[in-house]
């Protein structure tokens, strides 16, 4: 059924940059984008004259709601000096910038443009948490929000079915969280670059200073079971199962394959690119899998001629700990219903056979929704080029990595495979 797709001509990534992801009371979308743009420029090994950029694609979910300002394409293109060149905004909820990446790839593959900047930005933290939650809920499935479901609630419901079907428990979700924090500890760009142990120590110090009862936790799991440390958000999702509210920007420079070496001797090639769309819980064939994931993965694997075994590591959209388990199964890295065991056995750790979310994932790196898709691909870029510093995957011949981005509750999913040759 799946048609084998191919690009009209090859496309390569030759530059990448991102702001730190965090809550910035004194920086707006433009400020963050400039940080990402400057880092991207300095990442192009043989230099880039920004005048050579043909067009900008910008992923942004809902700055309209968060900042009361829409129409961000031209604003961003102007701030980095690209106007009057074309600027196109893409929207796919939390997958908005993966769609910008895709559109940029297609624009080059079609032969129309040679050099394109693909990017994403979101400025979420300037409003109270209740309003941010309301803004994010704009990407919900109407039948679900109508009966009180929130985003953590949808992933909570998915988790109850997953638990009942496969025998997993909250304890297994904690393994995902602990791993994410361990990786983020090694990522200076991460919003929470601390382990759970670091956070426990900070909490204990604070209690001592304030003269409050000092928690006595044996280990990280015991803290995560403690509702004072890790309160319920939407059973079984607790605070430490959920990604934070973040501001941030990210961008990548895409060029036609035949000119890639003019920019760097070490480009990455887009060998698989897939996208799918999905429906609400009530209409989905399964509660523990996203149709959109499987469709996106089939498209990308089909195009690349690869199978899941060929992917050496991946960034996946862990907006909630439960989501990470669904994705690593949907993408075929592990059999359905066994993802939680794989995480428990350490297979997805930085030093494991299939590292997942070496950046710390959305949970710890942060999730400025419109910037996340490109942010994930930047981690793949860093790992494949051996530039990931302390969190560099200790594997010889690392040459194929992938990123999976999800919008809403599976309404939009993308899967992108990059190769270093």
């Amino acid at each position: 059924m799946q048609k084998k797709r191919k690009l009209g001509r090859g496309v390569a990534v030759v530059g990448a940059g991102m702001s730190k992801f965090a809550m910035f009371p004194d920086k707006d979308s433009k400020d963050l984008f400039v940080e990402a743009f400057n880092e991207m420029r300095s990442s192009v090994d043989k230099g880039l004259d920004p005048d050579d950029i043909d067009a900008l694609y910008l992923g942004n979910f809902t700055n309209d709601f968060f900042t009361h300002q829409g129409h961000w394409g031209p604003i961003i293109s102007d701030v980095v000096g690209l106007a009057p060149k074309p600027a196109t905004r893409t929207e796919g909820a939390c997958a908005s910038s993966a769609l910008a990446f895709r559109e940029g790839v297609f624009a080059i593959a079609s032969g129309f443009y040679d050099i394109v900047l693909v990017s994403g930005v979101e400025d979420m933290s300037k409003r109270p948490t209740a309003e941010v939650t309301e803004g994010l809920a704009l990407a919900s499935v109407p039948y679900e929000s109508r009966v009180g479901f929130t985003f953590p609630g949808v992933f909570g419901a998915i988790a109850t079915d997953y638990f009942a079907k496969y025998g997993a428990t909250r304890d297994h979700l904690m393994n995902v969280t602990i791993k994410s924090h361990n990786n983020a500890r090694l990522n200076p760009k991460a919003q929470f670059n601390m382990t759970i142990s670091d956070l426990m120590k900070a909490r204990i110090e604070r209690a001592k200073k304030k003269g409050e009862p000092v928690p006595e936790w044996k280990d990280e799991k015991e803290a995560l079971w403690d509702p004072r440390f890790n309160p319920q958000v939407a059973w079984p999702m607790h605070l430490y199962d959920c990604c934070p509210i973040s501001d941030g920007a990210a961008c990548m420079l895409l060029v036609a394959e035949e000119i890639a070496k003019n920019f760097t001797d070490n480009p990455l090639y887009i060998i698989g690119i897939g996208q799918g769309s999905g429906r609400g819980l009530h209409a989905a064939p399964s509660l523990t899998s996203f149709e959109a994931n499987k469709s996106a993965a089939a498209e990308a694997y089909g195009m690349s001629g690869l199978t899941p075994k060929d992917i050496q590591f991946a960034e996946v959209h862990d907006c909630f700990s439960m989501a990470e388990l669904i994705h690593i199964e949907d993408l075929g890295f592990f059999e359905e219903g066994t993802g939680y065991k794989a995480v428990e056995e350490g297979l997805t750790r930085l030093d494991g056979p299939m590292p997942i979310n070496t950046s710390g994932g959305l949970k710890c790196k942060g999730h400025p929704v419109g910037a996340t898709g490109i942010g994930q691909l930047i981690e793949v870029w860093k790992q494949l080029r051996g530039e990931a510093g302390e969190r560099q995957i200790p594997k010889k011949d690392l040459h194929i990595g992938a990123a999976q981005n999800l919008g809403g509750t599976g309404g939009t999913c993308t899967f992108t495979i990059l190769e270093r040759r």
């Binding site: 939650t133 039948y143 109508r146 009966v147 009180g148 009942a164 319920q232 059973w235 819980l281």
Partner: protein
């Protein structure tokens, strides 16, 4: 009743009348709750209304401590969380609903698969009436 369009608005209007309604494709028999006007199985567009009996089983659920403003206004909060769920109807379709009548302070004790029966939670009156689909233990 037959003249109503197969839309979300009609679905909500039926809920106001304590009816859980879906649409069935006359060509291939596929059932949709809430209703669809186009059959996504065979692309047929000749549909008929079918009333659900309101019996089902809990397929998945969550207990929400931090809800949207309209749920907070109903008095739900961290101390009084509410349950939302997915219900497998006897007729084969699946619906999202509020789940009432369970002890939400002990979510770990709530079991998937428990039998449920529909109830209709009315808010407001007359023209302004809205109704939430809910289920409670049968």
């Amino acid at each position: 009743m037959e003249a109503k369009p197969f839309s979300d608005i009609s679905y909500e209007q039926f809920l106001n009348e304590d009816k859980l309604m879906g649409s069935r494709c006359k060509k291939c028999g596929a059932l949709f709750v809430p209703p669809r006007s186009i059959c996504i199985k065979c692309y047929g567009s000749d549909m008929e209304w079918v009333e659900m009996k309101g019996k089902g089983k809990l397929a998945a659920f969550t207990v929400i401590s931090i809800g949207p403003p309209f749920m907070m206004e109903e008095g739900y909060d961290r101390k009084n969380p509410y349950c939302s769920g997915v219900v497998d109807l006897e007729e084969g379709a699946r619906v999202d609903a509020r789940i009432e009548g369970l002890d939400t302070t002990k979510p770990e004790a709530i079991r998937i698969g428990i039998p449920l029966t529909a109830q209709f939670l009315h808010r407001g009156e007359g023209e302004k009436m809205t109704t939430f689909l809910a289920f409670k233990p049968a």
